[in-house]
Subunit: 300 residues, 2 copies
């Protein structure tokens, strides 16, 4: 599993087709992502429209009316509620954001009565990175939802990342707990959590996975750096998963990989009744398509 | 000023030659950095040796005995103290770490009686990044010394970065205060500091410089991201300087740029009596040479 296209290939051959409800599929890149899904028969698409005009959507529907279902709504907020309801009622396996504002969609997702929250579950965002520099995909958490993870939230983050790695065939994913040094220091309380997380991993709490840290991003992903530092660990230089201590650090990784690392990013929210895809408006059609594929794998 | 070589060219033409004391210049990459300095007549080198055997150093000295001064010491710790003393006594303008452990050198630098601390000054690490993706050098703080900057430390960090930009000819450097969003939120106390820092900048406290934020790394360095978000600021997409809220975030930026961004990094400690260069053992000769050049500019 070196690239997102490998994930798509796997998905095409092994996973049953999921039903994806797309809320406000009006914009060019969302329509582009949906088009590839339909052309490649990778998922069943349910268009939850808001009544807004969209040339892209009209053209797509004219050409594919026999291949997609449409649920017509009268407003953006109505579309958000209907998309969420489709998932709650068991009529969709994945929820995806189109041109609706993220806050508006999340309001419907987080609604205590009619939303997608699961009692006792931690909601967390998982990102996958396809980078030309590394020999494998990188999965990391949490660049969107949890600013200061607690021990319980760290556990959930690891579980979601490990689960998706298992589903795409990485039998024993390697998890790096990120910090700026290898030293555990009570001044940085996440490093104390890391000690706990390693114990839990050793006790088998995350299934087949190797968890190590604290270590920095370069030590996690570059064997040479580990050698220079004299650190020996099966995770060093081979991390599949990076767990970040704060949203400031994970957002920095996300934005730096995307801009300076020329990487392609895909993301999904886990811990909800079904995976939720909330791409940025600026994301390309490819990035949105890969996020959708990732969510379908997570739902599988 | 797009690349480190531009800085070296400027340095060659404009700045008087500085005297650099190099503590334990035994390893290949340190000797490589010194060799280029001597060959290009960019600085006067003072080798502060520890008595350890080194083929690289012996060969270099055999070929350049007329071009460098040597201060022979009997141990690594002795060499650290002597290097620091050379700066204190006004006989060196820059201190550079060779193959000595960083902690050992810093112990001598931080010594209250005989070290390089300045009363009331904030010691902070400044990094410069030469990246193929961006149209200018990036300067950022602090990836090594200050884990959780206070308002006073943020001020010092900005001042050091702005000062070095002015010295290399960037008349009005653009400073981005990094966070994961544009929103000021009292839950994230650095965003409150950012509001103060912008007021101080507007009052002229940092001289000729534009300070804006909070914003994320991509908004700071990519005009397109700013446009998509509808943010208009002279800093967006054109940042020369990034100020990070924590060491976890800045270290993540450093390591990600270095590994995945294929960037060249240079760094220097500011706020001491003279600039101190503390490269990592894993740094290349080029990276060490650029750090040395940066320190000579900072000392100018």
């Amino acid at each position: 599993m070196k690239t997102f296209e490998d994930v798509v290939d796997l998905f095409r051959s092994h996973v049953s087709r999921k039903r994806v409800a797309v809320v406000c599929p009006d914009d060019e890149s969302t329509v582009g992502a949906i088009r590839r899904c339909v052309d490649d028969k990778l998922a069943e698409i349910i268009l939850v429209t808001s009544g807004r005009e969209s040339r892209e959507l009209d053209e797509f529907m004219a050409a594919n009316s026999d291949k997609v279902r449409t649920v017509e709504c009268t407003s953006v907020d109505d579309a958000a509620r209907r998309g969420v309801a489709l998932v709650r009622e068991g009529n969709a396996d994945v929820l995806m954001k189109g041109s609706i504002n993220t806050d508006n969609l999340l309001r419907a997702v987080l609604d205590k009565e009619c939303g997608l929250l699961q009692k006792g579950a931690v909601m967390s965002h998982l990102t996958a990175v396809d980078t030309p520099v590394y020999d494998r995909l990188i999965f990391f958490s949490d660049a969107a939802v949890i600013p200061r993870p607690t021990l319980e939230q760290f556990e959930a983050m690891i579980r979601y990342d490990v689960d998706i790695c298992h589903k795409i065939g990485i039998a024993e994913p390697k998890v790096a707990l990120i910090h700026f040094t290898e030293k555990v220091n009570s001044k940085f309380s996440h490093t104390l959590d890391y000690v706990e997380l390693k114990s839990k991993a050793a006790a088998g709490e995350f299934g087949n996975a190797i968890v190590d840290g604290p270590m920095d991003v370069k030590t996690a992903c570059d064997a040479h750096s580990g050698e220079m530092k004299g650190i020996s660990s099966p995770v060093v230089g081979k991390a599949d998963i990076l767990i970040f201590p704060t949203l400031e650090a994970s957002n920095t990784f996300y934005k730096t990989m995307s801009l300076f690392g020329r990487a392609t990013m895909a993301g999904v929210i886990c811990g909800t009744i079904a995976p939720v895809v909330v791409p940025s408006r600026a994301d390309t059609a490819d990035s949105k398509f890969y996020s959708l594929a990732l969510a379908c794998v997570a739902a599988g």
